[in-house]
Amino acid sequence: MNLNRAALLAGVRDTVPMLVGAAPFGVIFGTLAIASGIPVWAVLALSALVFAGSSQFVAVSLIGGGAALPVIWLTTFVVNLRHALYSASLLPAVRELPARWRWLLAFWLTDETYAVVEHRLRTQGVADGGAAYWLGSSLAMYLNWQLWTVAGVLLGQSVPGLAQLGLDFAMVATFAAIVAPQLRQRPVLAAALAAGGVALLARHLPYKLGLMLAALAGVLAGLLAERLAASQPQGEEA
């Protein structure tokens, strides 16, 4: 397959807003991971090989807290499972692509790239450089994430004792800032309340098992609230 350079560059260009949005998270991730005592090679490996921001943040928090391996893997699975949804949604558009392209592009499938390429692939398929467009968006996100992770690592190393300065608080603030806008939806609010309550009660369980219990309770509460809202004849819009 000849690479359509114009489509590749268009993919990069359309991803620029996502690059700007991801940059601070890359820096915060690198800095926090170093401040939590994770070795440099492992921080860089997380960004280069896992390449899934939210699960990287969660992993730093779990590794720092001494979680068991299966808890880390299971949490990664749960947090990243939404990518299977993207994988399923893009499949019809890219069926004709050679398997090696699908293996390659799947590696870089993030929220941001999915948001950028989904419309074009759904409406035009892989004709006229759709695959190159996807590759452009993927490479831009990937290189951007590596760059800002390294910047964060350098920042974390240049200021020793960042953890004592309260940088561990930055993780809580980051998570809170991500979650809070979603709480406008009632079922999400129910999910957050249930998960937070269970996590608080189960915080002394070993290996961070409480996180798994809390996630399960949250998802069940969300589904239940969704059902209750749907069964109310004059229920408010959730």
Partner: protein, 104 residues
């Protein structure tokens, strides 16, 4: 804990999920209930990480003025809730946390 093993497992799990339908799609179905359940995962997992850190940073539940995590977290959440802007929320939360620690 073996860090290399932890990361290797995360790579396998994450890449496996991304490959799932794109490469093995003809053999898979995505149950609708699972699709709806996924909607709640980020909020559930992140809140489960936030709440114990904000309310009990040292282990026991601490609602005293000495716990700067709580006002800082509430500030970040409030700003994000109303503005939907992540970065200003983090910065303001951090400012409240810092000032609180300096005061108490």
């Amino acid at each position: 804990m073996n860090l290399l093993l932890a990361i290797a497992g995360m790579v396998v799990v994450t890449y496996g999920i991304r490959l799932s339908f794109l490469v093995f799609g003809h053999r898979l179905v995505f149950p609708p209930l699972l699709q709806r359940a996924l909607h709640y995962v980020p909020a559930a997992v992140l809140t489960a990480l936030i709440v114990p850190m904000a309310l009990a940073p040292q282990g026991p539940i601490d609602l005293s003025a000495a716990n700067a995590y709580l006002p800082g977290t509430l500030a970040a959440a409030t700003v994000a809730f109303f503005s939907r802007q992540t970065l200003p929320a983090i910065l303001l939360g951090f400012a409240v946390y810092g000032v609180w620690r300096w005061l108490f």
